[in-house]
Every structure is written in structure tokens, then in C-alpha cells.
Amino acid sequence: MAGADLKTASLSLQSVSRHFGPIRAVDGIDLDIGQDEFFSLLGPSGSGKTTLLRIIAGLERPSAGRVRVAGQDVTELPPYKRRIGMVFQNFLLFPHKTVAENIVFPLRMQNVARAARDERLRWAMKLLRLEGLAARYPNELSGGQQQRVSLARGLIARPAMLLLDEPLANLDRELRAEMEVEIRRYQKELNIPFVYVTHNQEEALTMSDRIAVMRGGVFEQVGPRDDVYRRPKTEFVATFVGQSNRLSGFVETVKNGAVAFAWQGHTLHVPHQGDIAAGDKAQFLIKYEDIEVAGAAGKGRSDHRSGNSLEGRLRDIIFKGQTANYIVSLANGAELIASASSRDHKVGIGEAVSLRWPETSGMCFRS
């Protein structure tokens, strides 16, 4: 999904900043989100995700910049006039109201007639499979049920967009996987933009059309999820998204955009991002699953000009379920990890192996 152009942009942020004294929680963010997009804000703790979400909701006033929702400048509007739905990290259900009262709260605030309210309530309860829980109080619900009530409340008033702040953080693994699929389904069904905050890269990768990786109040990279995963723009993005090996070395030559990277006596041919020149110190990051492990017997097939190859010994296999991590010790003492299907490992622990990857895999950054 390509970035939305301004005409169809449902949400548009123009150099939005929020400073708390010396802390730049959000620092000059530009962003356009389209009508049918599932957009994730991914970043470590304290990177400004919540602050940005609160600015969109109107709970926080930006120190600078403009916020537009569906073409209207809402920067000066208080939250209760913005028609935005929100799902909070700790649910924030009203403890003194029943499930049904919680869910219809947004409609009551809009003075929707009772009959219409009841109809919407039935719709929301059905969508989120909450039938039979209408009369319960929030403290009588399981975590997953509270989560769904919170989603129902966020969606019932047909908001212009739904903001979700780490809504799955408090759920156990199984439930989280299930809700990831559900939330994605609601977004496609309702056809409104979802802005989803998380510090869990798997969550972001599972659900999103586009991802913004945030650090220190700025976007390190914004793009389709495959781009963020496969073509990280910065070393931080490469480290934060997916699991990577990190090799520190220096640049021997740069030719036609390809880098000859010197690492512990080996020369590796790798792609790069940003300014880089011969002699620079550099980091090469490559995802576990981009490295292929083969028994040393297959050595003859390897063609050094079309890829990289390193020899080592398989030290251990860490079982991860569908995949396994192969930990390989190289002659120089370094260890690299390759990930592959756990079914068909052709090599045993202690055997000699070779590690291979094509010249287009991984990414090199000046350090």
C-alpha cells in the first residue's frame, strides 16, 4: 500500500511537535494516513508513541504543527469534538458502568436516540462476540473480554478513525495472537484508518499496511511493512525490527552502490544505506533467516562471486517451534545465528558447516 496523497488522506500531521521542558517527546512529525490504512507506530519505550497518539486524539496540545482529520484542521478542537475512537492500553473501562453502558457511552454523549443506540449496541456486541455479557461490570470480565468491550466502545460511534495504544500489551500470548487477527479484520470490515501503537515488532508486522519506526520523538523510517523489514533505512531500524546478526568492520571499496565490507579478515559483498565511503567504520546487519546453513559437503556448489560464504562449526540448535536458530562458531571465534525450518536440519551439532547469503541480503550502515 503506497503512502496516501493529501486528497484522500484521512489523517495528516504537519511538523507536529510536543516538548515537555527539555524533553522532545514528539519532534517535527510529518505524516499522511489514508482512509483504508492500518498504520502502526513502532518504537521502544519513551520514543513518543503515546504522546503522538494523544496529540491526534486532542488530549495533548502540540507545541507546534497542525493536525488534520478528514481534511478538517482540528488542532484547536478539544477531544470531545473530534469524533475519534480510542482503545487504551489499560482498557480504561468505566468501573461503575455495565458492559452495555460502557459500550453505548459515546452514543449517549452524542445524544443518539435510544432505539438507534440499542441497535448499534447489538451490532457492536455481535461484531465483538460479547453476547450475554451486557449486564456485567468490568471487574467481572476476563482480560480478553475487557479488551473487546474497550474495542466495541471505540468503534460504536463510527469514528473517523480508531487509535489503539498498545491494546494487546496486557493479554497473554495466545489471546494476543487471536486478537491481532480480529483487529485486522475489523479494520478491513469498517474501512476506517487504524493507528496502532506498539513496541512489539511482531504485532506491527502481523497487522499493518504501513509502519513508522519511532525513536526519540522522530520517525526513523516510514514505509510499507516489507520495506521496513527488508530495507531498513537506519541501523536502529535494522536492529529493532526482526532479529539480526551484527558485524562490525570497515568499508574497503564502494562500487555501483555495492560495498566490499571487511570483517575479521573476510571480505563480504553487501548492500548499503546512506552516505558511505571507503575507509569508513561500518556495521553490517543481517537477519537470522537471510543466512543459509549448509553441510560442508555442499561447499563445491558455492560460487564466491555471486554471494557471501563463511565456514564454521555448528555449535547448537535452539528450537523455536516452526523454526530453529542455528548457532555457528566461526574460526575467528565469532558466532553467527541462522534461522531455518526446524523440520529438515541436515547437519548435526559439532559438524562443519558453511553459511551463505546473497549479496543483496542484509544492510550496511556507517557507524
Binding site: L59, P78, H96, M109, N139
Partner: protein, 273 residues
């Protein structure tokens, strides 16, 4: 077979409960004695027991006391309401809109607690009557009592509301509740028990108060001031009855609060989801 350690433990428990009972006697013996004596024929030396309700008859016959009761109730209700209102606004302001001067603001709210009531009374008199030229009346008594009441109410409400999650109000606002609606729909239903508690305390404080009211009322009688005045003629039986009734009223109030709490109808404090 009990070991030496068990026996020492048993003694320690017995000593502790003895201490506890001594403490209770210290706190409640005078009050219980007054109630007992108020029903006795001989108030000065009510032993052996022989009961009558003469003291109460005397109390109810005296129209001055009825007048005083009405005034005291007015002062109590008025000051309770004003104190609770101001304190609630203050606490919400302090907690919801953090400021660098939070410490200073807190101290400013709580400082009246440390000023003798007598001095609050004299200061209000000097300020209201001398400087502003206001006549001493129930209103100035309510205002003066609310100075202390607000400080107490502030303390009580603050202790409860530090646990309130203001994000709840954020949620309400995102879903379309303007600030006033948000307060009625979300904040108040959660925090009202602590407001009730603060109201009761500041009501009782003002109801029972002698010094502050005295300086602001002049000739208008309140229960404490009438009691004080009649002391000049000695400790009459009607004073015993008055003390017993006042204490009884307070007991009943707190008993009701206790029952409400035990039955879960009212929760003093934030009810978490």
C-alpha cells in the same frame, strides 16, 4: 506440648490486647460515662444506678437549646458543603494539572490545620467585622468554619483521589464528553464516597465548633456556645443529656458509614476495574 517460645508468644499477645483495651478505655470512658450519667437520677454521683429521663426532659423544655441546635445544624451543613466544594475543586486542580509549585499549593491548602481555632475565630472577626464592616451572623460563621473544614476535607479527598486514574476522564472526553458532563458521568460516580466522607467530617467539625463560631456570631446561640454559657451555673443535668445526644449522633453517623462500607454499598476509595 507447648514450647517456651509458644508461651512467650501467648504472653505477648495478652499484653498487647491489655494495652489495646487500656487505650480504648482512655478514649471512650468519659463519653460512655456521660451517657450513663445522663440517664441517672443523681448526676453528680450516679451510683448505685437508678435511671430517669429527667435530664432529657429538661433539655427539650429549654427553647434556647432548640434554637441553638438549629443554628449549629445550619453552620455544620453550610460549612460542610462549602468545605467539600472548595476542597474537591482544589484537589482536582492539584492532581489533574500538575505544576512546579504543587508543594506550595498543598501547604497553602493544609496550613489552616495548624492554626489554633481560637486564632481563626479572632482573625475572621477582625477581618470580616472590622475591616469589611460585615455584621456577625451565620454566614460569616459558616465562612470562618469552612476555613478549617476545607483544609480537613482537602486532606481526606486528596488521600483518596491520588489513586484515581485521570485517564478515565481522558477516555470520557475522547468519547465525546465535555468537561462538565465528564465530571457528572465519570468522575463523580467514582469519587463521591470520599466527598461524602469529607462532608461528614467538616460537618461535624463545624457543628461541634465553639471558638471559631463564637467570635463570628455574637449573641446568636449554637449548641457549644449555649453549653459553654450554662456552665457558669454549674454542670446541669441538661448538659449531660446534650453531650450524650451529640456523641450519640456522631456514633450513629459513623455506624451508618461503617455498615455501608461493610455491605459494599459504598466504597471509600477508588473501585478499580
Amino acid at each position: 506440648m507447648t514450647s517456651v517460645g509458644d508461651r512467650a508468644e501467648a504472653w505477648r499477645r495478652r499484653a498487647m490486647s491489655l494495652l489495646l483495651w487500656l487505650l480504648y478505655i482512655f478514649l471512650y470512658a468519659p463519653i460512655l460515662y456521660v451517657i450513663y450519667a445522663s440517664f441517672s437520677v443523681d448526676i453528680v454521683w450516679p451510683f448505685p444506678p437508678s435511671f430517669t429521663t429527667d435530664a432529657y426532659a429538661e433539655l427539650f423544655d429549654n427553647a434556647l437549646y432548640a434554637d441553638a441546635l438549629a443554628n449549629s445544624l445550619l453552620i455544620g451543613l453550610g460549612s460542610g458543603a462549602v468545605s467539600t466544594l472548595l476542597a474537591t475543586a482544589g484537589v482536582i486542580g492539584v492532581l489533574r494539572y500538575p505544576s512546579r509549585h504543587r508543594g506550595l499549593i498543598l501547604i497553602a491548602f493544609l496550613a489552616p490545620l495548624f492554626v489554633a481555632e481560637l486564632l481563626i475565630g479572632i482573625s475572621s472577626l477582625a477581618f470580616n467585622a472590622r475591616l469589611l464592616g460585615l455584621p456577625g451572623n451565620l454566614f460569616s460563621a459558616i465562612a470562618a468554619n469552612a476555613v478549617e473544614g476545607t483544609a480537613f476535607a482537602f486532606l481526606i479527598i486528596l488521600a483518596q483521589l491520588v489513586r484515581y486514574d485521570w485517564q478515565m476522564d481522558d477516555a470520557a472526553m475522547v468519547f465525546g464528553a465535555a468537561p462538565v458532563r465528564c465530571f457528572w458521568e465519570v468522575t463523580l460516580p467514582t469519587i463521591w464516597p470520599s466527598l461524602l466522607g469529607a462532608f461528614l467530617i467538616s460537618f461535624i467539625l463545624a457543628f461541634n465548633n465553639l471558638e471559631i463560631s463564637f467570635y463570628n456570631l455574637g449573641a446568636i446561640p449554637t449548641l457549644p456556645s449555649v453549653a459553654w454559657g450554662s456552665l457558669r451555673f454549674g454542670l446541669g443535668p441538661e448538659l449531660f443529656a446534650l453531650a450524650a445526644l451529640t456523641n450519640g449522633l456522631v456514633f450513629v453517623l459513623f455506624a451508618v458509614m461503617y455498615v455501608l462500607m461493610r455491605t459494599g454499598i459504598v466504597r471509600f476509595g477508588y473501585r478499580g476495574g
